[in-house]
Symmetry: C2
Subunit: 199 residues, 2 copies
């Protein structure tokens, strides 16, 4: 199901991750969406790996954040991931699946549970914080809630799965650019075509 | 106008620029736009300063790049600027003015000329390179064209001016978030209102 043949850009991306992994921010990228009023939005999120052996990208987010409204309006996004050590940029675009606790698909709920337990306790606590973007009422930071490490995902925990359709790779050191486009074959497997283009 | 009273987020941003300026990538941010097919696009661009004393943000780009098509479709963008040293994020959104060589406004053409001469010779040469995104025909890098340092902007040189309407500031060290929203008063000056919100 698309995971049988590795996407040709995936090894390039794994190499970049490896070469930048000594930097705390190596896993941060910017996720662009279209808001319900049709304007663009953009924010930094954290790469949480690939789904199983596929090329689908996992992101954790708060179900109460505005990007969820954006993705309900238009379930499509472009990631811009710039690697500061190796001067490489990956622009990765495709449809995004939003998995919250109300999802009817047991396989997806299992992914959500797996993503939850892969988070540090500190990260999990963020999903118990007051609603993002509402006025901050207190001068003091909120008391840290306690969390049983064995309990599953809380209501606000949400997983995004971006299924890449196109990847635009730019290397600012070699000044090379490659665009990988995909199409589905009759078995609904993605077939990737790379093209070397002017930067 | 709008330059008479400084935007309250501008000093925060200048502080972040200062505190990160030892890093080559401090001036890189991601610019999100909406493509003519209504999907989001996202790419890294370089901060080229503020226009005069205002809070308007300058970006240089190639008139042949796809972001120009996006901005003609919807002249509005959100910048996401993450500072890796200080763990601060600025999301800056607003309308974008596209200034190319065909602009009828002499003041805007003057800005374009000023931006051109503020570029290094190396940067200026990029605008004489083969059209971005077209197939790269040669195995060898193109011969470097020669450029008289005294000649003005070439046709492909284009300046974007983003006029901030909203700024969403997040500090991941202090876990504080401030949203600055603007409205125009009767003199068409921007009035900014900051609000402390939950991160």
């Amino acid at each position: 199901m698309g995971s049988s043949s590795a996407a040709p850009w995936k090894q390039l991306l794994l190499n970049s991750i490896q070469a930048n992994s000594h930097l705390k921010h190596y896993s941060y990228f910017q996720l662009a969406t279209v808001a319900p009023n049709n304007t663009p939005s953009n924010r930094t999120v954290v790469f949480r790996g690939f789904q199983d052996e596929s090329d689908r990208i996992l992101i954790n987010t708060d179900a109460r954040s505005r990007k969820i409204d954006d993705l309900k309006h238009l379930p499509f996004s472009e990631i811009c991931w710039y690697f500061t050590e190796t001067w490489e940029q990956f622009r990765i675009s495709g449809p995004v699946d939003v998995i919250d606790g109300t999802n009817p698909d047991p396989f997806k709920l299992q992914q959500r549970e797996k993503s939850w337990f892969a988070c540090s306790l500190r990260s999990r606590l963020q999903y118990m914080a007051p609603t993002p973007r509402l006025p901050s009422l207190s001068e003091q930071p909120s008391p840290i809630p306690s969390l049983d490490p064995s309990i599953g995902p809380v209501a606000a925990f949400c997983v995004l799965v971006l299924d890449p359709q196109q990847v635009d790779y730019l290397n600012l050191k070699s000044n090379e650019r490659l665009i990988f486009t995909s199409e589905l074959n009759d078995d609904r497997e993605k077939l990737w075509t790379p093209e070397k283009v002017n930067p």
